[in-house]
Symmetry: C2
C-alpha cells in the first residue's frame, strides 16, 4: 500500500536531527537544542518550519553561510538590553541563547531585550517566545527573513514574511501563543496549492506588475507575497507597517541586514551587493508578569479571558472561537502520541542528507 | 457662501480645548497636556481622535466616569516595569504621564514599561509612542477600547479596535511612526460612508449573523467590525491575535477591564456587569536605542531603510511607496500653516460645549 506520508517517531526523528547537526560540526548541546526547535515545530503542526527545513540548513552550511561551531557573544548591553553577535551560527541555537540572556535580565530588572545580528533562520518564532512561560514571563520573538513581500503600492520584494510571536502564560488554561507571519499567507501555502493544482484566494500573492493573482506560481514567476490585509482598501498598509516594525527591530537595531539585503534562505541564491549589516537579525525579549501584576491575579484573569472567548457565540457553520496557540497545542497532543507525518518530499530530503553525511535514517514508527 | 468645513487656527483651537478641560476641573498643566494630545491628532490628519472626541470626554465627565482632578500613582514596580493607577482620570493625561515614567526607567536601565489601569480613552496611540523620539528611544503604545470587533468565527463584539503604535527615530529622514488599529477599518470610516450614502468594501464589517456586509450601517444594526485580514482565508485570525495581544497587555496585565467588559466611550451606554478590572487599560514603553546600537549607526541605517523603501518601484497608477507616519507628517506641515478643518458636526459640538460650559468659541482663522 502506498501512502503519501511517512509517520515518524518523535524521539527517533529528534535523534536523527541531532545526528545531522553533529555531523555538521555542532556541539552535542547545540545539536540537541537545534533539534528541539525543529521538533517543536513538527509537533505543533507547523510542518513548514520543522525537519522540512533541515536540508536547507545543511546546504547553507555547505555553502559556508552557517558556521556550525559558532560562539555567540554579547557585544553591547545595559541592565535590560543587549546586542548579541551570533557569529554566523544557527539561528535556532543563537536565538535560544539570546532568549536565555533576555530572561536573566528580566529576572534582574523586570524585563530583558536582546537584538541578534549575524544570524540565520531561527525556526518558529513561537519556540523562542515560549521559553519565557516557565519563568512566569511573557515572551516575544521577531525575526526578519528573505525578501518575498512587497510593501503596499510596490512591485518589489523588500520584506520577509517577518513573524511576530508573543507567549503569555495562563492558569488552568493553556498559554496564549501568538505566532504569525505579517504577510497574508506564507509561501508554504502557495506551494501546497501548486502541488494540488488549485487556485489561491485573491490577496495572497501579486504578479510582477503588482496585480492580485490567483495563480499559486505567481511568486515563482517574479511576483510577491502581500502584507496582511491583502488589499489597500482592506488595510494592507497595516500588514506592511507591522512587517517594517519587525524588520527594523531585527535588522536595523541589531546591526544585521534589513529589507532587500536580508540573505536568502536558499543557498543557491547569491547574497545581495553592498549589504549594510551582518547576516539576518532577530529580536527577543521577556517581561516578568510580577513586574506588573500579582501573578495569581494575572493567571486567574487570563483564564477568564480565554474562557470568555472560547464561549463566544459563533458564526453559523463554525463550532468555536479559536484561542491563539490552541491548534498548535492540539496538534502536539496528537503528534506526541501518534507520530509526526512527513510528506514524501521531506522524507526523501532526509534520506538524501543521510546518504550525503553517512548517517542512518531510522525514524518511522 | 456655505462650506462644509470650518477652518480653525491651531493655537485658538488649542486654547479653546484647554478652556474646556479647565472648566471640567483639570489643572492648568493637565488641561494643556490633554489639549496637546487632541491637537496632535487634528494636526496629523487623524480627525476622528482630535476635538471630534471633546464632547465625548465632556459627557463621560458629566456621567461621573472621568475624574478631572485625578492623581495617578505607581502601585507596583521593578527597575524597568511599573503599573500605574490612573485614578479614573483622562487617558490623554495619564498615558502621557506613564510614558514619562517609562522613559525615565529606560534612561536608567535601557528600557521601561508601564501598564495603566483605571483609565479612559487616551487619544492617538502615536502621541504617546512619539514622546520617546526626542530621547533617542523607540516608543510603543497600546490601548484597549470599547468592544466593537468580533474575533474570527464569532458574532460577538469582544475586542476594541485596539491600536498598536511604534515610533522609531531616523537621522535626516522623518521618524517612522506606526499607528494602526488592529481592525481592517475603523468605525469612523463606516460613518463617512454612511453620510455619503456609499457601500463599503466587503471585509470591513459583518452583520449580526456574522456574514460580511457592504452596508456601512451594519455595525449600528448589531454587527461587528472585522479584525485586520478581513476574511479567515486572508488571515483575519492574525488581526484577531494582534488585537488579543493588545487587550491582554492593556487590560489583563494592568488590572483594567478587558474584552467585552471594557467600558464604552459613549456615556449613554451602561457599564458591563461583573467587570473584572478598573476602567480601560493602556500599555506604554520605550527602548533606548544606544542600549542596542551606536546611535549614529542606527540613524544612518534608518535613513537608508527609508530611502530604499521610498525609491521602490511602484504598481502602475501609484506614485510612491509610503513610509509609516509619512501621511500624518505631511498633513501636519499643511495644517500648521493652513489651519485645521472641522466638519459642521464637530464644530457644532464645540458650540454646544461652549454654551453648556459658558465658554467663548473663537477658533476659526
Amino acid at each position: 500500500m502506498s501512502t503519501s506520508f511517512y509517520t515518524c517517531d518523535p524521539a527517533k526523528l529528534h535523534a536523527y536531527t541531532c545526528s545531522v547537526f553533529k555531523a555538521m560540526g555542532c556541539s552535542d548541546a547545540d545539536a540537541k537544542l537545534a533539534a528541539d526547535v525543529l521538533q517543536s515545530s513538527d509537533l505543533r503542526g507547523i510542518d513548514s518550519h520543522g525537519v522540512a527545513r533541515l536540508s536547507g540548513y545543511v546546504r547553507l552550511w555547505k555553502a559556508g553561510r552557517i558556521k556550525a561551531n559558532a560562539v555567540g557573544s554579547v557585544i553591547r548591553e545595559t541592565a535590560s538590553t543587549a546586542t548579541y553577535d551570533a557569529d554566523s551560527g544557527l539561528g535556532l541555537v543563537m536565538a535560544s541563547n539570546a532568549m536565555d540572556i533576555a530572561i536573566e535580565k528580566a529576572k534582574e530588572c523586570g524585563s530583558g531585550w536582546v537584538a541578534i545580528k549575524n544570524s540565520n533562520h531561527f525556526g518558529i518564532a513561537g519556540y523562542h517566545a515560549m521559553k519565557a512561560l516557565e519563568h512566569d514571563m511573557i515572551g516575544m520573538a521577531l525575526t526578519n527573513a528573505s525578501p518575498l513581500v512587497a510593501p503596499t503600492f510596490s512591485t518589489e520584494r523588500l520584506l520577509g514574511t517577518n513573524p511576530i510571536s508573543f507567549a503569555i502564560p495562563a492558569g488552568q488554561e493553556q498559554p496564549v501563543v501568538i505566532d504569525l507571519a505579517t504577510s497574508s499567507a506564507a509561501n508554504g501555502k502557495l506551494e501546497i496549492a501548486q502541488r494540488a493544482g488549485k487556485k489561491v484566494p485573491l490577496g495572497w500573492v501579486q504578479d510582477k506588475e503588482g496585480q492580485l493573482s490567483d495563480d499559486p506560481s505567481a511568486l515563482k514567476k517574479g511576483g510577491s507575497l502581500i502584507p496582511l490585509g491583502s488589499r489597500d482598501d482592506l488595510g494592507s498598509h497595516k500588514g506592511y507597517a507591522l512587517s517594517a516594525f519587525v524588520d527594523i527591530f531585527s535588522g536595523v537595531l541589531s546591526g544585521a541586514n534589513y529589507g532587500p539585503w536580508v540573505p536568502p534562505f536558499v543557498s543557491f541564491l547569491p547574497l545581495a551587493e553592498n549589504m549594510p549589516g551582518e547576516g539576518i537579525g532577530h529580536f527577543v525579549g521577556a517581561w516578568r508578569i510580577d513586574g506588573f501584576s500579582d501573578l495569581t491575579d494575572f493567571k486567574a484573569n487570563m483564564d477568564q479571558w480565554i474562557q470568555r472567548f472560547k464561549s463566544a457565540e459563533t458564526v453559523e457553520g463554525q463550532d468555536e472561537v479559536i484561542i491563539p496557540g490552541e491548534p498548535e497545542y492540539r496538534a502536539q497532543l496528537i503528534r506526541e502520541k501518534e507520530g509526526i507525518p512527513l510528506i514524501d518530499k521531506v522524507y526523501n530530503d532526509l534520506l538524501e542528507i543521510a546518504d550525503d553525511l553517512k548517517l542512518d535514517l531510522n525514524v518511522t514508527v
